[in-house]
């Protein structure tokens, strides 16, 4: 079945440092989404990428979708304490089941 892997599992940064999490799928994706889950909370949608090579920005967050539509990344510039949480990528396959398959997540801790 489809697998979506994320690295790293955990990252601890000083406030102001940059942060990047990477997502890799075993199958080609029709689109990829990113979610953020604060400690004790539920996943909240951040963005969806659809096109090969697509890059989208939301303030300090930059999202990329790979050319082969099998990988993606999220980069946060100058982290803030409000960025603390777990970031999940979730992909939809191009064939077969279209349900979102979530990665294992990257937990970000920001030291003030």
């Amino acid at each position: 079945g489809q697998q979506v892997m994320q690295i790293p599992q955990y990252q601890h940064v000083q406030e102001g440092e940059d942060f990047t999490t990477y997502c890799n799928s075993s199958t080609t994706l029709s689109n990829i989404q990113w979610y953020k889950q604060r400690p004790g909370g539920h996943p909240v949608f951040l963005i969806q990428l659809v096109k090969s090579g697509e890059v989208k920005k939301q303030k300090r967050l930059t999202f990329q979708f790979g050319e082969a539509k099998k990988n993606s990344s999220l980069h946060i510039t100058a982290t803030q304490t409000t960025d603390v949480g777990t970031y999940f990528c979730a992909g939809v396959r191009t064939t077969g089941r279209r349900a979102l398959t979530f990665g294992s997540g990257t937990r970000l801790q920001v030291q003030p």
């Binding site: 989404q33 996943p43 909240v44 949608f45 969806q48 999940f88 279209r98 349900a99 979530f102």
Partner: protein, 114 residues
């Protein structure tokens, strides 16, 4: 505009019991998906309901079943509970499958099986 609501928020059961979790989707949404999230893991897809039918199913045993009502609300039933069923159960609503898979999650039901 109400978001996705789930009940109850917490539940404690013993092995072998049965449990029913409930979900009301976001206003305007007609598709409900259920996910299981173990501690420190990503959400795992259980199944999705649309037009009162199960449309897609993940790798979960038949002990996990569901239902969707005409008002789009949904229930998740788990029979013969195992210790390993302890997790956060998340309901997510969205628009018609294939049109927009963006999910809106509820706050979840924390199930503990003793």
């Amino acid at each position: 505009d109400a978001g996705v609501t789930q009940s109850p928020t917490h539940l404690i059961k013993t092995r072998g019991q049965q449990v029913t979790l409930r979900c009301s989707p976001k206003s305007g949404h007609d598709t409900v998906s259920w996910y299981q999230q173990a501690l420190g893991q990503g959400p795992q897809f259980i199944f999705q309901y649309y037009e009162e039918e199960e449309r897609q199913r993940g790798n979960f045993p038949d002990r996990f079943s569901g239902h969707q009502f005409p008002n789009y609300s949904s229930e998740l039933n788990v029979n013969a509970l195992l210790l390993g069923d302890s997790a956060l159960y998340l309901c997510a609503s969205s628009l018609v499958p294939g049109r927009d898979e963006k999910l809106f999650f509820g706050s979840g039901t924390q199930l503990s099986v003793l």
